[in-house]
């Protein structure tokens, strides 16, 4: 089980510190340092790699990849193996209030015009599993007349313009060159401003480590050529992952062959999790 992300993102900060040191007593150089940072910010806003040094991962060059995720909601059966795999793989707190990925159930009953939505934090579902460490959808609609029902897996959208990265006061959360939003747990101060800024509810506070936590698309796995744990265990291939730089990758084909959409386009975050088969009610 891998606990820490294998990325060393602080070289950008070190260079900043170097500039800062050189700038002592020299306003001119201080201005230059600011200019560099502004360029980095502009690059980041444009979705380009920031001035962060490449991670030291054997056989992995992050400039060669552009990861993305796909969800085919029509295939999801709500078995929640993905949720349990994620919790185990990433050592996420075993309770019903902290998730790197979760699954929502949308059920419209006959005669109703709005979907009933529930997920793993729902007390009825917690009772159904008998434990906050295991996850089940309670069979609560067995006697009802269901008109329409579907499941929607959720996770961090690893946005191109992530609001969480924008607000982080220290730069502890950052966007990698290969399109993943990560958190440096050794640098995060635990202010939770990013938790507030994420419109998707994808972030949470890791009470044990006292830092913010979220999905990394299993960065420790994908940089070794493996799939994220949730994709690996999905029995119906509802979850798709791959490299958009590879035109034949599962995600490239998923985006090419389907009419995909993203969640909350209006935020301007430009998510990189692409959905097929979701309804207007999906939040």
């Amino acid at each position: 089980m891998k606990k820490e992300d294998p990325v060393e993102p602080r070289s950008g900060r070190r260079s900043f510190m170097g500039l800062l040191g050189a700038a002592v007593g020299s306003a001119g150089i201080a201005v230059a340092a600011e200019t560099v940072s502004h360029e980095a910010v502009a690059a980041s806003a444009a979705g380009e790699p920031r001035s962060v040094a490449k991670p030291k991962i054997p056989g992995y060059d992050w400039s060669e990849h552009q990861w993305a995720f796909g969800v085919d909601a029509t295939k999801c059966i709500g078995c929640l193996r993905c949720v349990e795999a994620c919790k185990t793989e990433n050592d996420v707190a075993g309770d019903a209030h902290h998730f790197r990925t979760w699954v929502e159930r949308y059920v419209t009953l006959e005669g109703e015009d709005k979907a009933r939505i529930d997920s793993q934090a729902d007390p009825v579902n917690i009772a159904a599993s008998g434990s906050e460490k295991e996850y089940r959808f309670a069979n609560r609609y067995k006697d009802a007349k269901v008109e329409k029902a579907f499941f929607v897996p959720k996770l961090c959208n690893h946005c191109t313009h992530p609001a969480c990265v924008q607000v982080c006061p220290t730069g502890a959360t950052f966007k990698t060159a290969d399109g993943v939003v990560l958190i440096d747990h050794t640098y995060c101060i635990g202010c939770q401003y990013c938790v507030q800024a994420c419109p998707y509810g994808a972030r949470f506070f890791n009470a044990e480590k006292q830092v913010t936590d979220k999905c990394t698309w299993c960065y420790h796995r994908i940089t070794k050529g493996l799939l994220p744990a949730c994709v690996e265990v999905c029995p119906t291939s509802a979850r798709v992952f791959g490299d958009r730089n590879d035109k034949e990758s599962p995600i490239s084909l998923f985006i090419k062959e389907n009419r995909v959409q993203v969640l909350r386009r209006e935020t301007g975050n430009a998510p990189n999790v692409f959905y097929v088969g979701i309804d207007k009610e999906v939040v």
Binding site: I117, S119, V165, P169, I189, Q196, P199, F204, K209, V283
Partner: protein
């Protein structure tokens, strides 16, 4: 083992991670404290810069209060942080797109400005004491004088120029500091309750009224403790300022809420459910009726009738206490209220109070009381009083 988090009950649908509130009552206290700083500084500036002579009895006291409050402004944030020992990361390697990263710089600048202005204001007294006193107190005053013992008329003229300049710079600094706090909330697009361009302005006006109200209360209490006569003209002046700025604050809040409802974007149904339910007591009754309408009516009556003497003083002080409570409730309704409306736009959460613990009411109350204790000590070393001569 004690649970590491408190899960909030909810109705409708909320994201599972939302059931743990990120920000607690400490983050309610934080904008409240910065608001008091800005408000107290405003009162001081009304005298130092704009020449409101009737505020002279509280001008220096306001400045000293502002400094004592400002020293404690970072404490709620530090208490709240998961890793307070890393707090300086935000200063050493600031992330320039983050509103929060700029806080360290703005507040550090403002603390320096306040210390400098206070030093100039109290310099004649410090020099006098440094020359008069012996032993440890004398040493403290001699160190505080920074070796600058010239109190000639020429030096005083020079000091007054500095005080004026610092007070002028302090106006945008103090209000920028608090406007920025409003921006921290208003700039987030994830929460409809916060996401408003008016948020910084609303925070500013409520800051001014809360700081003025605090000074009214502190001034009257100090007169009572020192057994000196209250300068009614000064008290009434502060009452007028509070009354006037309250009108602006109320109109702005009304406009913001009206716009939110009128725009009626996605999620407005849940917001209206929130307004018509959980918000009735904390907002409509406590913040609006008790904390805002009552003092406005009371002050209007006192000013209209030309009431004087003790009834005026009592009326203004009661109004000020209500206003301070109203602004505290406003902070609560913004910070906690905003988190009670789920990001899904389809559910409402109920905040769970914690009394003990790092994020609890006791910690928040301590942070609020601490500046007042500091102030009560500091006024003994630097008396800021300008009492009218007894008849």
């Amino acid at each position: 083992m004690e649970s590491l988090f408190i899960a909030a009950p909810y109705t409708g649908y909320v994201y599972p991670n939302e059931t743990v509130f990120p920000w607690s009552v400490l983050i309610v206290v934080y904008p409240y404290l910065t608001g008091l700083v800005a408000g107290a500084f405003t009162v001081s500036s009304l005298y130092q810069v704009f020449g409101f002579e009737r505020l002279r009895p509280v001008a220096h006291f306001a400045l000293l209060s502002s400094l004592c409050l400002m020293i404690f402004v970072p404490t709620p944030l530090l208490l709240h942080l998961g890793h307070a020992e890393r707090a300086f990361n935000a200063l050493l390697t600031p992330h320039l797109t983050s509103a929060m990263a700029m806080f360290g710089y703005i507040s550090a600048f403002y603390v320096l400005l306040l210390m400098l202005e206070n030093w100039f204001v109290f310099r004649p007294y410090i020099v006098e004491q440094a020359q008069k006193r012996r032993g440890l107190p004398g040493l403290v005053y001699r160190v505080a004088s920074l070796g600058s013992n010239d109190v000639s008329e020429k030096a005083m003229r020079y000091d007054r120029k500095w005080i004026f300049a610092l007070a002028v710079i302090g106006i945008p600094a103090a209000h920028g500091l608090h406007g920025y706090v409003g921006f921290v909330f208003g700039s987030l697009k994830s929460r409809e309750w916060w996401s408003s361009d008016l948020m910084p302005v609303i925070f500013l006006f409520s800051a001014i009224i809360s700081g003025t109200a605090l000074l009214i209360v502190l001034y009257v209490v100090s007169c009572w403790l020192r057994k000196v006569r209250i300068d009614l003209a000064c008290l009434k002046g502060m009452g007028y300022a509070m009354w006037g700025f309250m009108m602006f604050a109320l109109v702005l809040e009304g406009v913001e809420f009206g716009a939110l409802v009128y725009r009626g974007r996605e999620g407005i149904d849940v917001i209206m459910e929130f307004v018509a339910g959980p918000l009735i007591v904390p907002f409509f009754i406590l913040q609006f009726a008790v904390g805002a309408v009552t003092p406005i009516l009371m002050l209007s009556y006192l000013f209209w009738r030309g009431t004087g003497g003790t009834p005026l003083a009592v009326g203004i002080v009661v109004s000020a206490v209500l206003v301070m409570f109203s602004v505290l409730m406003m902070r609560y309704n913004v910070v906690i209220g905003g988190q009670e409306i789920a990001k899904t736009g389809k559910g409402l959460l109920t905040f769970q109070f914690e009394f003990f613990g790092r994020d609890g009411i006791l910690a928040a109350a301590s942070v609020l009381v601490a500046p007042l204790i500091l102030l009560s000590v500091v006024v003994r070393f630097l008396p800021p009083w300008h009492d009218p001569v007894a008849p």
